[in-house]
Symmetry: none
Subunit: 204 residues, 4 copies
DNA sequence: CATGAATGAGGATTCATTCAT
DNA sequence: CATGAATGAATCCTCATTCAT
């Protein structure tokens, strides 16, 4: 490994450190409380140094959001496909997603509720043809297709269906995150009911 | 009109001015960029005067949110009930709601996507028993009840159903607002599909 | 009573109201928290009106201090003279004073620890010949004179003695007021010891 | 001298500058008129920078007070002990103290007449057992003990005596500081008389 | 490469005071 | 006589960013 390479690597490591610190603050304290100084303190470097690795604060936030989005993607993709009961796989994947996000609600907010354009570009999901770009949506598409082919689901536009499955779940999730004081039991009831309606909405 | 009355009226006008300014900033620049100073500049008064009309910033934000929420309520309540086809009334009401919110997207964000406690207290919707407090949910409940009684909808918990109808729509709406560059046509396709799945999810 | 007179009287009443309100705030919340607005709210008038009765805030504070000082004076003068044991009267008077001030510590601070010139002019006590002006010091002087004449006290400058009796007591008192967390018992021990030393300092 | 050291030194210098500026304002204008902005203007820096060197305003005030308190301590401790005549050492120490404080009257006020909790914690003197904590009181205690042992002073509680010696002197001093227009001669007469009474109050 | 001092602008509030009504 | 709206300056403090070292 040449010197240039090693330097590049080191640079990557610090970048990672900064992003991790930012992520942690975002997760623990929310976007309003994220500041360059806090990041610097956390990584035990000076505030100035951060500007060697990132143009400005916005770039950090965007990068964190990207990382967060990767996580989201994975949660949806990791579910093993139950070929006979694709609706079960859909439900499982989305439940996975809900659980994961409820564990890091501030990150969810940062990624999916912020209005920073750079983030939204990375995260958008409603465009026609998006299933070719986003693996998460693609996964849902595959499962829907399966359901249709098996004759379990109604005939319908597959991508649109995947999108609606996702936006609906997203809606429930964002309210679950914003509304405090909801009992665990009520949460579960809501989630269960959500899937009852959605899955029933797919089935013939 | 007496002097006292006129003064009262003038006071109301300035209050309104402040709220309008706040609203405009909220709509154009989002919550992060709302400041007392900005409001003052907009209405061409000194910052201090704002505290004549409002206790503090939170009260302003809350008031704006309340106004926004009133709008939301109305959109859901104004739909005439089609007794024979409650699912049509549900869809109409929620479509109304989507349209209205798409016209004032930042206000929607301010009210329904902000994490300000004072606001959330006024708009929370997931609590068990909420249908007794919120007219909007109550309206949905009535329509669902109707559908069940008519034998059109499956037997199910009415309040939970109303809540999920709302959160799902909320999810689609919030993504429609955050994702730029979606064609009008795609928007309509998504909205149509959304209701196809949801309504189908209710029906026997 | 003529109209002019009655108006004068009314004016006095409001002045009194303002001073009482200011006094109450001073006593309860201290000088730092005294504001024109708070006074206005308390007397249920508008802030503006206060400037009809007083030049500015300083004048109010000064007036309150004067009132407070009157109180202080009285506490020292009201003790019945024990001709045979003037040292007992001295102690009683000063103990009276301590007790009174401990009940209204903020007022004590406002009057005796503030550095507002106008107040200090009314309250000074160290000048040579002050015993002719200040009844309180005069009272102490009389008691000291009595002690000297009876042959109980050492021969000494009477006015200086009265002044030192007062400043010493003032010193104890001001520390008692500023230092929190002193037990009642310790307070009493200090006060007792204070008089033991002082009185012993007078006696032959 | 290494770079780090020099930087450290420079930092100390600015800290000192800030404290000096604060001290000066305190001395000239009193606590009510001390503000971060004023300090910044005086040292010709921006207000923000002050927060590099101090957590907040309170820390500045506390630091100034500490400095002042150090002075006080020294004045009381520097007097050589006259074993045969401890009363002379007591008087000398306290006279020292008076002189020193009269030279920096507003600093005295800042430290000993302010009601800022953080300061009071550092200078309180009336608590039972304080002689173990405060060297100044401890010094007085030693001298009093000496006097009692030599049979010159009456038998009495040593700590209480030290405390009263201090509070009495504090009382005289604070009045000397607050009352303007007292002739130098009268000042001296008062101080002399003060010690005559006090010392006589100790002696058998 | 890294520091950390420094700035300047901005954040929410509070206040004494003035003045048209 | 009395109001109360309005100001302007002040309060403490925080922040993203820059830049000499």
């Amino acid at each position: 490994m040449g010197i240039a390479e090693r330097k590049q690597l080191e640079k990557e490591i610090i970048r990672k450190k900064i992003l991790d610190a930012a992520s942690e603050i975002l997760i623990k304290e929310g976007y309003e409380n994220l500041s360059i100084r806090k990041i610097a303190t956390k990584i035990e470097y000076s505030p100035g140094i951060i500007y060697h690795y990132f143009e400005n604060k916005a770039e950090i936030v965007t990068s964190v959001a990207e990382e967060g989005y990767e996580k989201i993607l994975k949660s949806l993709g990791q579910v093993p496909v139950d070929v006979e009961n694709p609706e079960k796989s859909i439900e499982k994947g989305l439940r996975n997603y809900i659980e994961l996000m409820l564990e890091a609600p501030q990150q969810f907010r940062a990624v999916l509720m912020s209005d920073i354009e750079a983030i939204q570009e990375k995260v958008n999901v409603l465009k026609e043809g998006i299933s070719k770009e986003r693996k998460s949506i693609q996964g849902l598409c595959n499962l829907v297709t399966l359901g249709v082919e098996k004759g379990k689901f109604r005939e319908m536009d597959v991508e649109l269906t995947a999108q609606i499955l996702w936006t609906s779940t997203h809606g429930l999730l964002s309210r679950l995150i914003l509304e405090k004081n909801i009992s665990e039991q009520q949460k579960q009831r809501l989630i269960n009911h959500h899937f009852q309606i959605l899955i029933n909405g797919l089935i013939k």
